[in-house]
C-alpha cells in the first residue's frame, strides 16, 4: 500500500515536471500552438532553408516543420498528396513543371491578390523564374507561386587538372589549342575524349558525367541541354502544340545523336542510370574531369575538402550549332489550397520575399531569384559559381509545364533512354515516336494538335 502511494506520488511529480519542461522548452510557438509544414525535396538547399526558417520562427512565433523527400520519390510523393487533397503540407516548394497542373486542379492558392495587398511585385524577380515557377498560363499575369529556388544546369570541372602543365601540353599537342573550359559542345566532347581513360595521379579517370537516369526525369533533364542548342523546341511558337517537324526536326535528331556519342565515348562505366547523386559521387571521388549537374549542388561541391576550393571550376552549359540555352531547374513556393493555415503560410511567403531574407538565403546556400540580390554589383564575386549562375539564368528553357507534364516527361524518358542507353533504333525514330506519344497525350487533354 505504501509502495503504491509512493509510486503514485512519483508518477504525478514526473508528469508535472515534464509539463513544466515542455512549457519552458516549447517557447512562444508551442504556447501559441502554431506550426507550418513545408514540403520540399531532401537536398543541400533544404538544409539551408531549415537554417533560414529559424529567423521566421523567432519573428512570428510560428514553428516550422519540414517534410523533405528524396528527389527520386519527390514528384510521386507530393503529387499524390496534392491529388488526394491531403493536409500534410501548408507550404510546398513544387517543381516548375507542376505549375500547370497545380493551377488547373486548384491545388495551389492563387497569389495575385496577396501580392497586390503586400506590394510584392513579380517585376522584382528574375523574369525566367517568374515565367518558369509562378505563372500559369505562361506569360500571363496569373501567379501561383513565389520564385523560391532559382536553378539551372551547369557544369563543374577539375580546375587543378586543367591547369597542370603536362596535361595542358599534351592537350595542345593533340588538338592544337589551349585546354580551357569549353564554350561549345564540340569542344566539350574533345576535352572529354582527351581525359577519357587517362591516368592522373595513378588513377584512371573519365571524361564527363552526364545525366542518364531512367526512372524519374534524369535523362530528359540532361539531353535537353544539348537538344536546345541543336535547335530543338517543344512546339511551333506560331502554332502551339504543333510538334511534327519541330520536335523531330533533323537538327533535333543530330542533337540526340550527339548526346549518345558523348555518353558512349566519354562517360565512366556503369553510368546507365545515373542522376544528380551519382554525378556528385563521381566528381567527389575524382573520377571525372567534367560534370553536368544543377547549380544547387555547387555550394556543397565548392566546400568539398577533396575536390572543392581551388581544385574546382565552373562553366555554363556549352553552346551548340544552333543556339545557346540551358535547362531550367528550380522551384517556386506555393500555399497549398487544402491547408488549414493559409494565413500563416502567406505570412511565411511575405517574410521570405523580403530582400534581407533573400540575401541571407543566398548566403546560406540557397539560390535567390530576387533581382535585388542577383543584380547587386558584388553578386558575381560573392561565390565562385555566381557569374556562371547569373549567365545561365539568362539562357534557360524549361520542359513542358502542362497539367499532363508527367506523361510527357515519362514518354520522353522512355524514348531517349531507349535510343541513348539501350541502342534501340535511330535518333530520328526515337523523336518520331516521341511526337506520336506527345500528340496522343495532348489529344487526350483536349488540345488541338496541328500535324503540319
Amino acid at each position: 500500500m505504501r509502495r503504491m502511494r509512493w509510486l503514485r506520488s512519483t508518477a504525478a511529480s514526473a508528469i508535472l515536471a515534464a509539463a513544466a519542461l515542455w512549457g519552458l522548452g516549447g517557447g512562444e510557438a508551442a504556447a501559441q500552438g502554431k506550426q507550418l509544414t513545408l514540403c520540399w525535396a531532401a537536398w543541400d538547399p533544404a538544409n539551408a532553408l531549415v537554417e533560414l526558417g529559424k529567423d521566421f520562427t523567432k519573428q512570428s512565433g510560428i514553428e516550422m516543420k519540414y517534410e523533405f523527400v528524396p528527389w527520386t520519390s519527390y514528384a510521386d510523393r507530393f503529387l499524390n498528396e496534392l491529388n488526394s487533397h491531403g493536409k500534410l503540407c501548408d507550404l510546398i516548394i513544387g517543381d516548375s513543371q507542376w505549375i500547370g497542373g497545380a493551377a488547373e486542379n486548384k491545388w495551389y492558392v492563387k497569389l495575385n491578390d496577396f501580392f497586390d495587398r503586400e506590394k510584392i511585385s513579380m517585376d522584382d524577380f528574375v523574369p525566367a523564374t517568374v515565367v518558369g515557377y509562378s505563372q500559369w498560363p505562361k506569360n500571363s499575369p496569373n501567379y501561383w507561386a513565389l520564385p523560391a529556388m532559382a536553378d539551372a544546369v551547369g557544369w563543374t570541372y577539375r580546375k587543378d587538372w586543367f591547369s597542370r602543365p603536362d596535361i595542358q601540353a599534351a592537350f595542345k599537342a593533340k588538338y592544337g589549342r589551349d585546354l580551357a573550359p569549353p564554350k561549345t559542345y564540340d569542344e566539350l566532347k574533345q576535352i572529354a575524349e582527351f581525359f577519357q581513360g587517362r591516368e592522373i595521379d595513378g588513377k584512371k579517370v573519365y571524361g564527363a558525367y552526364i545525366f542518364t537516369e531512367r526512372g524519374s526525369e534524369g535523362i530528359t533533364m540532361g539531353v535537353t541541354n544539348v537538344l536546345y542548342n541543336y535547335g530543338f523546341t517543344y512546339d511551333n511558337p506560331k502554332k502551339p502544340y504543333q510538334m511534327q517537324g519541330i520536335v523531330n526536326s533533323s537538327d533535333a535528331a543530330k542533337g540526340l545523336e550527339f548526346y549518345k556519342e558523348l555518353y558512349k565515348c566519354c562517360t565512366a562505366p556503369g553510368m546507365t542510370n545515373a542522376y544528380m547523386q551519382e554525378g556528385l559521387d563521381a566528381f567527389k571521388s575524382g573520377q571525372v574531369a567534367m560534370q553536368m549537374n544543377w547549380f544547387a549542388f555547387f555550394p556543397g561541391l565548392y566546400k568539398d575538402p577533396n575536390v572543392g576550393g581551388d581544385k574546382i571550376g565552373f562553366f555554363v552549359n556549352p553552346a551548340g550549332p544552333n543556339g545557346h540555352f540551358t535547362q531550367l531547374g528550380g522551384q517556386g513556393i506555393s500555399v497549398v489550397a487544402t491547408s488549414d493555415r493559409k494565413d500563416d503560410a502567406l505570412a511565411y511567403i511575405k517574410w521570405f520575399a523580403q530582400p534581407a531574407v533573400q540575401q541571407k538565403w543566398w548566403q546560406l546556400g540557397g539560390y535567390s531569384a530576387l533581382k535585388a540580390v542577383v543584380d547587386a554589383p558584388d553578386f558575381p564575386k560573392s561565390a565562385a559559381f555566381a557569374p556562371q549562375f547569373l549567365e545561365s539564368m539568362g539562357i534557360v528553357k524549361d520542359f513542358w509545364a502542362e497539367p499532363s507534364y508527367a506523361q510527357l516527361l515519362l514518354d520522353m524518358q522512355k524514348r531517349v533512354h531507349d535510343y541513348v542507353v539501350a541502342d534501340k533504333g535511330t535518333a530520328q525514330q526515337a523523336l518520331d515516336l516521341l511526337v506520336k506519344d506527345w500528340t496522343k497525350v495532348f489529344k487526350e487533354q483536349g488540345k488541338q494538335v496541328a500535324s503540319q
Binding site: 514528384a75 510521386d76 503529387l79 499524390n80 491529388n83 497542373g101 488547373e104 486542379n105 486548384k106 537516369e213 531512367r214 526512372g215 565512366a268 562505366p269 556503369g270 553510368m271 546507365t272 542510370n273 573520377q287 497539367p403 499532363s404 507534364y405 508527367a406 506523361q407 515519362l410 522512355k414 533512354h417 531507349d418 535510343y419 542507353v421 539501350a422 541502342d423 534501340k424 487526350e444 487533354q445 483536349g446
Partner: protein, 324 residues
C-alpha cells in the same frame, strides 16, 4: 441450450460468483441471440474490413476502368469511355512487349529456382555435419526484404567498385569495368533473373524439402530390397512423389514473379531503355506517375484476369497430378 449461449450466461454455474441478481441489459440481450447471429457478430468485423479494403476498391477500380479519369487532370469532366481503355491496352504494341518481357522473366527465374531449389533440397535432406548451419545460411536471402536485396545487388554489380565484375574477371579475364550487368541490354534481363533466383531458390528448396521428408522410408527400403539403383529410386520414387510440391512451388513463384516490382525497380528501373520493364512497372508508371487512373485500372484488371485464369488452369492440373 447451445454451447455458445452457455458461455455467455454470467449467472450460469460455469462461472460461479460472476453475475448474480444484477443482470445487465446487454447480458439479457445476448442470451436471446441465436448461434448463427453470434457467429455473424464475430465474423462481421472481418467481413466489413474485407469489403472496405478489398472488395470495394476492386469494384471501384472496375468502374474506373470504363472512364477517362486522369488524376493529374481531374478538372476535366469524367467521361464514360466504355471498353476504350481495354482496347487501347490490347492494341498497344508496348504493352505486349512488356508482357513478353514479364513472361520471359517468369519462365527463366522460376525454372532456375526449381532446378536449384530442388537440388539444394536433395543435398540438405541428407544428414551431415553442420546441416542446420548450412540450412540457415541457404535460407538467409529469402529472409531479406526485396528492397534491401535490390540495393545491395546494385552495389555488388556496380562495374567499378562492385565485387561481382571482379569475380567474373578472375574467371574470364574480361576487364571488370568493361561490362555493366544492369546497364547492358544483353545482360540486364539475365541480371534480374539471377538476383531473383538467388533470393527465392531457398523458398523452393523449403517446399521441396517438405515434399522429400513426406516420402515414407519404407518405400526406399522396399526399392533397396528390389535392388533398385539410387538413380532408379530417384526417377521412380523421389521425383514422382515430390512433383505436387514442385508444382506448388512453381505456382507460388510464378504468381509472385508475375507481380514482381520492387526488386527490379531498384535494380534497373526497367532499363536500360525498357529492356527490363516488367508489366508491373508499366502499371505503376501509368497509375502513379502518369496518373492515368482509368487506363491503369483497365490494365490492372487485364493482369488480374490473366493471373487468375492461368492459376486456375494450373491448379486443375495440380489436382490431376495429386489424384494420380
Amino acid at each position: 441450450m447451445d454451447k455458445m449461449t452457455t458461455i455467455l450466461q454470467p449467472d450460469d454455474a460455469t462461472f460461479p460468483g460472476v453475475g448474480g441478481p444484477a443482470k445487465s441489459r446487454s447480458t439479457r440481450r445476448v442470451r436471446g441471440l441465436s448461434d448463427r447471429t453470434i457467429a455473424w457478430l464475430f465474423v462481421a468485423p472481418t467481413i466489413a474490413l474485407l469489403l472496405a479494403i478489398n472488395i470495394f476498391p476492386l469494384v471501384w477500380m472496375i468502374r474506373l476502368s470504363f472512364t477517362s479519369l486522369n488524376l493529374s487532370m481531374s478538372y476535366l469532366p469524367l467521361r464514360f469511355v466504355g471498353l476504350d481503355n481495354f482496347s487501347d491496352i490490347l492494341n498497344d504494341e508496348d504493352v505486349w512487349i512488356r508482357l513478353q518481357t514479364t513472361a520471359q522473366f517468369v519462365i527463366w527465374s522460376v525454372a532456375l529456382q526449381v532446378v536449384i531449389g530442388f537440388g539444394l533440397a536433395l543435398l540438405i535432406n541428407r544428414q551431415f555435419r553442420g546441416h542446420s548451419f548450412w540450412t540457415t545460411i541457404i535460407l538467409l536471402p529469402m529472409m531479406l526484404s526485396p528492397a534491401v536485396v535490390g540495393n545491395f545487388w546494385t552495389l555488388l554489380l556496380q562495374p567499378q567498385i562492385g565485387p561481382f565484375n571482379y569475380v567474373i574477371s578472375l574467371f574470364t579475364g574480361v576487364p571488370p569495368s568493361s561490362f555493366s550487368m544492369t546497364g547492358q541490354v544483353s545482360l540486364a534481363p539475365w541480371t534480374i533473373v539471377l538476383v531473383d533466383t538467388w533470393m527465392w531458390a531457398p523458398y523452393v528448396m523449403l517446399i521441396c524439402l517438405a515434399g522429400l521428408r513426406s516420402i515414407p522410408d519404407y518405400i526406399y527400403e522396399a526399392a533397396e530390397v528390389d535392388r533398385a539403383s539410387p538413380w532408379r529410386q530417384f526417377w521412380s520414387i523421389t521425383l514422382p512423389m515430390t512433383v505436387p510440391f514442385l508444382m506448388l512451388a512453381v505456382l507460388f513463384r510464378a504468381i509472385e514473379n508475375f507481380k514482381m516490382f520492387d526488386m527490379v525497380n531498384l535494380l534497373t528501373s526497367g532499363g536500360p531503355g525498357s529492356t527490363t520493364e516488367l508489366v508491373s512497372i508499366t502499371l505503376k508508371r501509368a497509375a502513379f506517375e502518369k496518373w492515368r487512373t482509368g487506363y491503369s485500372s483497365a490494365l490492372a484488371i487485364i493482369l488480374f484476369v490473366t493471373v487468375f485464369g492461368a492459376a486456375n488452369i494450373y491448379v486443375k492440373a495440380l489436382n490431376k497430378v495429386k489424384q494420380r
